[in-house]
């Protein structure tokens, strides 16, 4: 039993490293993902995760850090969405959709120019937690600390904006400033996580644990905590399964987060139905008396 569940993490140093990286990603995504889910920013998160592709590809062609390229890609897509929606009076989701496909296409064109990059495309899109280096962990820890710092400092406006932009505005907080700060936080999360789970799959870690947690949490802090636990548990289970059955580690982790969401949704539904039945009981009782 112990051999199956624990031994691989003791014996295999790379698997251990992958687990630590996945835990860091899980916590970072839980903090940022909480506000993504509450503020309904999944689409812009998705666009950001795809939009970093040309940045990463260009950086790799120029032999500079892919993290720098990802940061530039994220900045371009955030700026582009803001510019297109403001200047050309199109809705935000149209602007996001346009920037999303433009950046993704550009990324694929850039990678198609180089045979080496074509091989790396899978790695960029789907990640490889088993190829994580200890230097990646340092960057992930810095990103986690920054995301937590932003989340802590801006907790009040972020919370109010999750309720209603007007509430934040009439309380003296600049909605555009804090919305952009929130986007920067999501961008930072995507950039720090792409090595481990890839730019496509990071959305799963960003959305699924937080969407599961929101069903049961009573506070924002507990939502972050539950989402972190779900992400960490999915990381452990995903790495374990991929190790024993030789599956793609990152995709297995993300698929498990989505399965957990499905289980939580069914459980939530059952609880709601049970509560509804309890609520109906006294009425039935009164009804019987009436007869």
């Amino acid at each position: 039993m112990l051999d199956f569940f624990v031994r691989p993490f003791i014996d295999d140093q790379q698997l251990r490293l992958a687990f630590i990286a996945s835990v860091l990603v899980a916590i970072t995504c839980a903090v940022a993902g909480t506000f993504v889910v509450l503020r309904g920013l999944a689409f812009i998160g998705d666009a950001l995760s795809h939009g970093v592709l040309p940045g990463i590809a260009t950086a790799m062609l120029l032999s500079i850090s892919p993290i720098v390229g990802a940061a530039v890609g994220a900045a371009v897509i955030m700026g582009g969405v803001g510019l297109v929606s403001r200047r050309y009076k199109v809705s935000a989701d149209t602007a996001i959709g346009l920037m999303f496909v433009a950046m993704l296409s550009l990324g694929v064109i850039i990678t198609s120019r180089s045979t080496n990059l074509e091989e790396d495309l899978d790695h960029i899109l789907f990640g490889d937690s088993l190829a994580v280096h200890s230097t990646d962990l340092v960057w992930q820890i810095i990103a986690l600390l920054l995301v937590c710092l932003i989340g802590f400092i801006a907790r009040r406006p972020f919370l109010m904006m999750s309720v209603d932009d007007g509430l934040a505005q009439t309380s003296g907080f600049s909605v555009s400033l804090f919305h952009n700060l929130l986007l920067a936080m999501i961008g930072l999360t995507v950039i720090s996580s792409f090595q481990t789970v890839g730019t496509l799959l990071v959305m799963g870690m960003l959305v699924a644990p937080a969407a599961s947690a929101v069903m049961f949490a009573r506070r924002i802090s507990s939502m972050m905590l539950i989402a972190s636990f779900i992400g960490i548990f999915a990381s452990y289970l995903g790495l374990l399964i991929s190790h024993h059955f030789n599956l793609a580690a990152s995709a297995t982790i993300v698929l498990i987060t989505v399965l957990i969401f499905a289980i939580c949704a069914v459980r939530f539904d059952l609880i709601k139905r049970r509560n509804l039945k309890i609520d109906e009981l006294p009425h039935q009782h009164e009804h019987n008396h009436a007869h």
Partner: protein, 239 residues
């Protein structure tokens, strides 16, 4: 002469190039109640949003507590028409009410005993104390509305801008809102309230009938004359 708490001089309100209501003129003193009445789309909410600083006036001079709308946020409380996406938010009622103190606390100040006391008083005043620790999403719309009212009261504002505060409330809830407004006015708070209900105007100092223009403005007995009501709604009050 004391400064007018709310002042509008030839103010036009709207969005972009679209004017919703033009040439609004009115002013209020401390403790006054101004009731805005009109059909949907008549400009009530737009006027309140303008006074709250969420929308800039298209023209004219608007002042709240002697400053441009949206400047003195700590002293102005605003209750939107349909607050909160309450089906998803993992918040209990007390947390919602605590948000009423955020304008004072800003980003970095820590919540003090005084803040917690003001939250407690607001919960008690609105009758929300009994479900203060329940999740907002598990409550009825009337209970949620009480929580939002408590949030606005917790701010301890000098001007309250309330957009249909009685929406979704039963008779007891409506009485509670009327009592709350009376007690806030007694401590010198100016209340500007939008409503569909003519009976909400009974105790007002000023009533403004809106229909994408100012149909009438003045004391209730003047502003709610039959000819103005007919012009605004197409019917008159039963006598």
């Amino acid at each position: 002469m004391p400064t007018k708490t709310v002042l509008a001089e030839n103010v036009s309100i709207g969005f972009g190039r679209h004017t919703v209501v033009a040439e609004i003129d009115f002013s209020t003193d401390s403790g006054a109640l101004v009731v805005l009445i009109g059909t949907n789309g008549s400009g009530k909410s737009t006027l309140l949003k303008t006074l709250a600083g969420m929308i800039k006036p298209l023209s004219g001079n608007a002042l709240v507590l002697g400053a441009k709308p949206g400047t003195r946020v700590k002293n102005v409380g605003y209750l939107p028409q349909h607050p909160v996406s309450s089906h998803t938010l993992p918040l209990c009622v007390r947390d919602v009410v605590r948000m009423g103190r955020f304008a004072d606390l800003g980003l970095f100040n820590r919540e003090t005993t005084k803040d917690r006391e003001l939250v407690k008083i607001a919960l008690e005043k609105t009758g929300a104390a009994e479900f203060a620790d329940k999740p907002l999403r598990d409550l009825s719309s009337g209970q949620q509305q009480r929580a939002h009212l408590a949030q606005v009261l917790a701010r301890q504002a000098e001007v309250l801008l309330l957009d249909e505060p009685t929406a979704g409330l039963d008779i007891n809830g409506r009485k509670l809102v009327a009592d709350l407004i009376a007690s806030e006015r007694a401590r010198g708070v100016t209340v500007v309230m939008a409503t569909h209900e003519l009976q909400d105007a009974e105790n007002a100092n000023t009533v403004m009938l809106l229909a994408q223009r100012v149909v009438s403005i003045g004391a209730p007995e003047v502003a709610l004359r039959d000819e103005f009501l007919r012009e605004c709604f197409g019917f008159t009050q039963p006598h």
